[in-house]
Structures are given as C-alpha cells and as structure tokens.
Amino acid sequence: MSREARVGIFVLLGLIVLTFFTFRVSKWGLIAEKGYRLTVDFDTASGLEPKSDVKMAGVPIGKVEEIELAGNRARLILRIQQGIRIPIDSVASIQTQGLLGEKYVEILPGKDVQRNLPSGGQIANTLSPVNLDEMVRKLSEIGDDVKKFTDSLSATFGTEEGKKALGDILRDVAATTASLRTVVQGNEARIERILANIDRLSADLSDISAANKEDVRATIENLRAFSDTLKTETPSLVRKLEEMSERVSNIAGDNRENLKESIANLKTASARLDNTLDSAGRVMAKIDRGEGTLGKLVNDNTVANSLTGAFDGISRYVGKYDALHMTLVPWVEYQTGTSDWKYYLNLKMQPTADKYYLVGVVNDPRGKRTDSSSFISVGGNPPVETRIVNFEDDWKFNALLAKRFSRITVRGGIMESAGGLGLEYDVVKDRFSVGADIFDFNRPENNRAHLKLYGNYDIFKNLFITGGADDLLNRDSAYRTFFLGFGIKFPDDDLKTVIGAVPIKP
C-alpha cells in the first residue's frame, strides 16, 4: 500500500468516525432535525429537562426539546418522530420512572383517531403530575385510619375478655345449631305430619270459601251498610267535636292574661337580643374600619410589623444568647524565679467563633512591691545602702476583647490591671497554641513593659498545660522567670443560666 493510500484511509476513517459522532449527538448538528414539533403546557415542569423522553404507551416517540415559561405555566416543546400520529384529544402527563426515577412526558392517546395533531399543534388536555409529597401524605393518612381501625379491632378482640366473649358466642351458635339439628332429627315424623296438616287446612279453607261465597258476599254488604250509616251520622259527630273544642277554648280564655304576659316577656327579650346584636355589629364595623385599639391591631400593618420586629429582636437576642459559649478557665502557674504560684481565674465568653471576651482575676505573688532602703554601717566603714524589695501577693484583673483571624488571635484590653496587647497563634487547631502578651507599659523605675511568652497544650478536652517565660524584658533578672502550669476548662452551661441577666447587645 502506498503512503498516500495509507494517509488517505487514515483521514477517511477519521471523517467517518466524526460523522458518526455528529449524527449520534447533534442537537442541531449539521443536519436538520427530523420529526415535528408539538407544544404542551403544564402547571409545573419540575424535574423535566430538555432531551427528556416523550413516550406513548411506554414507547419513546420523541424528546422534550425546550422548556420555557408561558405566562406562569411551563411550556414544553416536544419533538415527535416523523410518522407517529397523535390523536387530537390525547392527554399529556408528566410521569416518573419508578418512584424516584427520571421524569418523562407520557401521552395517553385519545379516541379520535380520525383527527391527528398537526405539526406545531398543542396538546390541550393535560394531567397535573402527581405530587409525590402529597401522595405520600395521603397514603400516610390512609395508613393512620387503617391503623386506628385495626387498633380498635385488636382492642376488642385482642384482649382476653374479647377472645372469651367471641369464643362464647361461637360456642352458643354451635350449641344452638346442634340442638336444632337434634330437634329436627328427632321429630321428623311429627314435622311431616304438621306440614301435612297445614296442607290439609289450606285445602279446607279453599273449600270453605268456595262453599260460602254467598256468605262472604253478605258480609261485605253489611260492611257497606255500616259505612253508609257512618256517613249520615258524621255531621252530628262533628258538632259534638266542636262543642268540645269550645269548652277547651273557654278554659284558655280564663288564663288569657297569663298567656299574654308570657308573650310580652318573650317580645322584650327578643328586642334586647336585637339591641345586643346591633351593638356587637357596630363594634365589629368599628374594628373593620380600623378605629379603636382593637381596630388598629387588626387593621394596621404597622402594628403587625412592629410586633414582628419585636419578635425578631427577641429571637435574635435569644439566638445570640444561645450561641454564646462560656468557658470558665482556672489555672495555676509555678514560677521558677520566685518559687511561687500564680493563680488565674478567667471567664471566656464567645458569642461567635471568631471573637471572644475574657474577664478574670489573677493572684500575683509579686503583685505588690514595696521598696525600702536602709543604710547600715558596719565596723566604722562608710554606711552601705541596702535596698530591700518586698513583694506581696495581690489581686489583679483581666478584661480582654479578642478577635480571631484564621489561626491568629489578636487580643487587647486590660491585662493584670494594666493596658496590654496579645497575639496568639494556633499551631495545632484547638490543641496547641503559642502566644505573646505585652502589658503594663508604664512601670515604675523606668522598667520596660511586661512581656510574657507562653505555649498552651490541651492534653484532653478540658485539661491543658501551659509553660513559658514571664517578664522577659525586665532589666532586673530577678523578675525574669520561667513558669509551668496547668488548668482546667469548664464549658459550663449552668454558668450561662446564672449570668443570664447580663445584658448582651444584640
């Protein structure tokens, strides 16, 4: 095979594959779309997508080409394959494959097979798609009813009593039928005789009536005569009745005054009722017009708005309060320089993840400093000045505001009763952090500010150890010290309730 031929075959094959792809995938492609278009409107096309199937009797006959909004309904444009005829009275519906599967458009063919929908026509009849939620709700209602019924059934028959009663009934029925059977069996001959007698009796009766036809006729004649007499006698009877009723009315006449009073009472009562209803109507009308407090409440939107606002505020406040995490953190530090313990008790209030407030007290073994100088002269030498510095422990307090930027927390405020700033870095998130605090810039004797470097490590969730160096910048080496310590974190929810009264700005 020549080189040209090989290249030619290569290119040709490539083009063939490309053409194959084009035909398979193209929505518009390079060729005109086959088939014809129909439109159909639905209340919702939720779940349908362009290229969803259109099926008739479960057989795919086209695709949904476009979905657009017509008014506030969904208009689907369907592309139906050439040669598929859809009767004009067909019904379109959106169906789901399985319970949760893909949606497709199902066309239920109509009866009018003589007239078919033309290209561009609209399917007028649609069925709203079944809302799965609604269906499930209805099903569960039905289920509830069934359950109630079976519950009462089981309450009746499920109990020992019910079972016993049922058993008794069945036993009675059995006994009755058994005795009936024995009666019938034991008296077959007699029953036969009775039946024969009845037979004979009816025969006799028929004979008698035939033989006494004349008598029967005479009896009927008598009856007629009686009704005739009755007719002639009726006026006198009526008169007697009239007399009786007159007597009754006389009795009523004697009590006429009483009756009158009763009726008058009824009248005034109904009039009062009328009045009451009238005034109620007036009140309602007033409310309706927006007059008065109630009317304002009912008719004025601002009231509702302000109420909503108030509720919003309350819920925001409550939310804030709920979101506020409080942690009580006591810890101690052993300072190597002074061989003394320093105690801390801080309350950390965290309204959001990136912000917290800290208030607390510190018991500092070197909190209070007293300087005294004395001149001592030993053995006639010039006196030597001896300075004695005394420390006493003292209470100091913290009040800090901290803001967190990713892993870095910046905090500032009052540190150990002096202004200060701090920076903390989370080396391992919520586990290991290092930081530096600098505070007390205005110290006596021109000393430099108090710098504290520290690292905190959480051994468990609630127990942490701390360590570092304190007062590093101090000129006096006696102040500089390393420290080691540990502390506990109480994420105390009860605490919150206790301090619940503290107002928090929403």
């Binding site: 040209e4 490539g14 594959v17 398979r24 995938v25 193209s26």
Partner: protein, 266 residues
C-alpha cells in the same frame, strides 16, 4: 560591610539569573512566532509541498495511532472506574457515561493526544532538524537556493495541524468505548442506559471544541520542535539538548494553551 556587599551581589545575581531566563524565553517566543509567520507566508506560495506533507502525515498521524489509542482507551477506562466509585456515594452511577464522554471529548482526548504526539513526534522533529543543523545540511539547502522553512518546516506544521484532530477523533471513540467496557462488564452498568446517557448530554460543540484545540496543539508542537531543531548547535550533545527542550516546551505549551483555549471556548 563585606557581608552586605556579598549579599547585594547575591541578590543581584538572582535578579540577573531571572532576567536571563525571561530574556531567553522572550527571544524563543519571538523566534517561534517569526517561524510561524515564515511558515504561513511560504505555505501559500507555490510549489506545493504535497508529497512532503503526506509523508509527514503518515509520520505524525499513522505512526502515532497506537500510542494515542492505547492512552485514550486506558484514560477512558480509568475515568469510568474513578467516576463510578465517586458517583456511587451519592447514587448517580447512571451519569458515569455522560461524565466519561464529556471529559474525554472536551479535555482528556485532545490533551493526552497532544502530550503523546509532543513526546513522540516533537522529539523526532527536533532531533532530525537538529542533526541537519549541526551537520550543516541546512546551510547546504540554503546554498542550493532551497528555503529550509518551506522545505522542512511547512510540511511538518501543516501535517501536524491536520492530523492531530483526526487522531483525537479516534481517541474520543476509543476512550468512550474503554469507559463503556469498564462500566458495563466490570461495574455491571446497564449498557443501554450507559449509551443513552453518553449521547444524551454530549453535544456537537463538545466534540468540535476538542478538535479545534487538538489542531492548535498540533501546530504548536510542530512549530516549537522545528524551532528547537533549527537553533541546535554543538554536535550530538546539542541535538540531545534541543530534543529535550522541544519535548518539554511543547508539552508545557500544550497544557498552557489548553487552559486559555478552554476558557475562551467554554
């Protein structure tokens, strides 16, 4: 004092080094662009290099078929495997077909074909032209009044530009087939659903943007490789260096230009 001078020198050295690199890169880019203009201007002039182009098409296209097709098949297979295990977690395994088809046609087919061609063909172009350069065959061509760009570069560039999209068409097909086999025979997907999903969300645009990209890759690979071959100097070692540079530069260019083209055509 001496310390700070040394420091300054160090910093300056760093800046110099950076400057040299950038300068060299700009020079390279300029040379490649000039070569491109030369190719365009000499390609439209007679006589046509038809036989040469066909020869290069065989070299770039047919000879690269096996490597491109194997790469594409396995790419499709691994893509199906991976997306299956991913989609299984939220129960969307029926979309594996769509994902494989879209990824292959839009991105992986063109890029892998481009990388393979740049490794196979770019290296051979740079080595061939580099050898001609260091053995002064190109100078000989010039003395024979033959334009080396027209004779050597134009056929390669034109062939690569034409052939790469064709390679990608095959790569798309094989990639989808590979994904199909893995999904249907290994993962037990429904073959009919798989194929219908493959075509349902695939549009013609996905395929032709891939082909346009492939075409540009082909042109870039040929241009860069020829350029590095042309500027080779220093005997066999220089040819080796030129080959390496050609492959590295054209592979990088494939990936970089891929991003920009995709963002334009998205």
């Amino acid at each position: 004092m001496t310390d700070s001078t040394a420091k300054k020198n160090g910093a300056l050295r760093l800046a110099e080094l950076l400057g040299e690199r950038v300068h060299a890169m700009v020079l390279d880019l300029g040379a490649i662009f000039t070569l491109f203009l030369q190719v365009v201007s000499s390609a439209v002039r007679p006589p046509s290099e038809f036989r040469n182009i066909v020869k290069q098409m065989e070299e770039v296209g047919i000879r690269s078929m096996p490597v491109v097709l194997v790469t594409a098949t396995f790419t499709g297979m691994v893509l199906a495997l991976q997306s299956y295990s991913g989609f299984q977690r939220f129960g969307a395994t029926s979309f594996v077909g769509s994902v494989v088809a879209l990824s292959i046609t839009r991105e992986l087919g063109p890029v892998f074909a481009g990388l393979m061609v740049s490794g196979r063909v770019g290296a051979s172009m740079a080595a061939e032209l580099g050898t001609m350069k260091v053995t002064e065959q190109i100078d000989a061509l010039i003395t024979l009044a033959t334009n080396p760009v027209k004779y050597l570069v134009v056929p390669r560039v034109v062939a690569a530009t034409i052939v790469l999209p064709i390679l990608v068409v095959f790569a798309d097909l094989l990639g989808i087939i590979g994904g199909y086999f893995v999904s249907v025979y290994l993962m037990g997907a429904n073959p009919y659903v798989y194929m219908s999903k493959t075509y349902q969300y695939l549009e013609f645009k996905d395929i032709y943007t891939g082909l346009i990209k492939a075409s540009v890759f082909g042109m870039l690979i040929a241009l860069i490789s020829c350029h590095h071959g042309f500027v080779a100097q220093g005997g066999a070692e220089g040819v080796g260096r030129a080959t390496t540079r050609a492959v590295v530069a054209s592979s990088m260019m494939v990936l970089i230009s891929d991003y920009f083209m995709t963002s334009f055509m998205f």
